[in-house]
Symmetry: C2
Subunit: 422 residues, 2 copies
């Protein structure tokens, strides 16, 4: 497809130029982009109103329209984001593991940009600026493919970002937006291996699945989180209740929200009524296994307080005010259950036992494994990464919250003085 | 497909067990496998003869039959390989970047096995033992899909490896072989995301392309190398000739063999006749651009010594006694040419100029960038990695020679004492 071919070539060329541009210039680009976003906010808001009008005509839900809507404040938020990224340390250039081989070759690894990054995302237009900021800071060119609902907004923002770069003599094609938002073009984009080094989908489970299934370009899978909290038999009960409350209710719709509890039978009688009381007071629906329901009934709770859980519940990321509860007879059973049903995101144990804590951390297969803390901390900023492009739930390249370093790679550099292989 | 489902479940279960097995036991497994391979060499050789007889009946070329053939010596080589891997340091368990956040959370990254690794390879049966050794050392279960020509040999080897593990109480499904070698099953295998964490193809360009195009499991692309040597205007001529000779002729069929020369016009008149003389003496066919042919004619060489190069030559990995030559007028042009046609493998500059050396290393987009050394060094053992599962030419996860570390990932481990997110 000629259109994508051209975008790809331009991105590749911009990436080569960026590779030779120092951090001072890249930061200037980010600051120029921040200023121009603010200066052009009227135009961006006007474009956004077009998107919103179109969405209303199409009868799109108000909750989705809210995600689409920009305000002066949200544009300021984008500009702030660009400035914050400008303030972060340069992720590229570092040379590590330099060593001299017996034949005198000096071999080390230099951290360099990935090259061209493709981002496929849904309706929030602020991703256009956020994703650009991180990719550009790390020296990459980015090709963005946003949702069709936000096309006018995304185009207005992308045009401003390009202009800002161009004005100060930086390669404008460091950011490009796919304006052809057809599914056909999206699928071609996912197969643009010649020009795109990595694809990062940002959005719901459906989008991510589509990208994983159709892409021949390497993908970093971000995402879905069926996160568990396991209450061990030695847990501090007050701590368990507070952490579960926080992990479930502090925000319902995020990937690090707790969706399922696993409780040791020896502590269930004491801890379960406290947990249920707290969660019901926050209007959380509780779906429990047989044992859970028995214990709650034994504690004098009305039968309706716990809905029977089905097999389907164990694997479900509710993203809603619902939680499942399973009683186990050992930490082994807890670990086996979590390893069977989790999505490789965030898992926690609440325990006062040293061996149980270390064992859980070692044996649970997930991006982030907590002892005595809320799963809600799985986040680039909370982890001290400065910013985040997403949370990887796969095991290649980057796992867990991805900051700037996840947008780089390394190359071997070798200094010789005439060595040949015998 | 039920068959793959079962293999996948068994691999996943073995991976979980391996994750709890220390390095001492894993090394014992490798040593047991080495001993049993030697003890069972007669059976393995008998199985190999079946493969060879079948190949001869099918009229397969002798050069391919040579790749397929096992001997006592080759089996000893496999056993040696297993023992060597047993002697390498444990790549997992290391905890890095541990830091305490303002809220008291201690967050670090623990290096852990990838889980289940799929390897798809061609005719050499020794890969069965080699790939198992590296995957197992790093705590992974492996599912191998070898070429149909080597099925009997691979099955004999895999059976021995499984038995060796079982005998000393280690999970036998840490290694499994796909005995259904149909293309249909191979394609299903490439989509076994539920059980397989990463696929590594090992083989020629066709195999790698098939895996990249059909796999939904994350792939580490290994491989093809259209490697260049750029002779800068300040090059030491004798060094240039020796390095080019080595990089082209030391072994013709490897991915780090030099396939193309790029020569600065200011040194071409002096260096080119020397290079051509040396390469012709080694029976290498030279395909040059217009300028190359002119200079050689000017130096009194017969017109037939340089065949005219076509556009196709610049992108060609010959894997044969052929090399292409292009004359450029600057290092910029050399870098642009190499970045356009290379495959991201190994590239070298020969120069005495400090700025040219550093610039080439910074601007060339490849896994390994050399100054004044042969590209033939791109190899796990030569780089001091101890062993190698392949050479990655993609940018995600691992780039260049992949040792044991490339077969691991990290997970965040977080120690709290009741932290909740405000």
């Amino acid at each position: 497809m000629e259109y994508l071919e051209k975008l790809g070539q331009q991105a590749k060329q911009a990436a080569r130029e960026l590779n030779c541009i120092g951090i001072k210039e890249r930061n200037q680009g980010l600051l120029a982009a921040a200023s121009l976003l603010l200066a052009e906010s009227d135009n961006i808001l006007a474009a956004n109103r077009e998107d919103i009008d179109r969405a209303r005509q199409k009868g799109i839900k108000e909750s989705l329209i809210d995600r689409l809507a920009l305000t002066e404040e949200r544009i300021e938020g984008m500009a702030d984001g660009l400035r914050q990224v400008a303030g972060l340390p340069d992720p590229v250039g570092e040379i590590t593991d330099m060593k001299t081989r017996p034949n005198g070759l000096q071999i080390g690894q230099m951290r360099v940009p990935l090259g061209v990054i493709g981002i496929i995302y849904e309706s929030r237009p602020n991703v256009t600026a956020d994703a650009f900021a991180l990719c550009f800071k790390a020296g990459n060119a980015v090709i963005l493919r946003g949702g069709s609902d936000a096309l006018s907004s995304n185009l207005a923002i992308a045009t401003v970002l390009q202009r800002a770069l161009k004005t100060i003599g930086l390669p404008e094609h460091a950011i490009q937006l796919l304006t052809d938002v057809s599914h056909e073009t999206a699928r071609e984009f996912m197969r643009l291996n010649q020009y795109v080094d990595v694809l990062i989908p940002r959005g719901g489970a459906g989008l991510i699945r589509t990208v994983v299934e159709n892409s021949t370009v390497p993908v970093i899978e971000t995402g879905t989180g069926n996160c568990h909290i396991y209450v061990d038999k030695t847990a501090d009960i007050a701590m368990a209740v507070d952490i579960i409350d926080n992990a479930k209710t502090q925000r319902l719709g995020t990937c690090n929200t707790c969706e399922s509890l696993v409780i040791h039978e020896e502590i269930a009688k004491q801890v379960l009524p406290e947990i249920v009381k707290r969660l019901l007071s926050k209007h959380v629906e509780i779906r429990g296994d047989e044992a859970t329901r028995k214990i709650c009934a034994g504690a004098g709770m009305p039968e309706t307080s716990i809905i029977p859980a089905t097999e389907e519940d164990w694997g479900c990321e509710y993203l809603d005010a619902i939680i499942s509860v399973k009683i186990v007879d050992s930490i082994e059973q807890a670990i086996a259950h979590i390893n069977q049903y989790n999505t490789g995101h965030s898992e926690a144990i609440i325990t006062q036992n040293y061996d149980a804590a270390l064992r859980f951390q070692r044996e649970i297969d997930a991006a982030a494994v907590y002892v005595n803390a809320s799963t809600r901390f799985t986040d680039g900023e909370q982890f001290g990464l400065g910013a985040e492009i997403g949370i990887s739930t796969q095991k290649l390249h980057a796992r867990g919250p991805m900051g700037l370093k996840a947008l780089t790679t390394t190359k071997y550099i070798i200094f010789g003085n005439g060595q040949i292989r015998p």
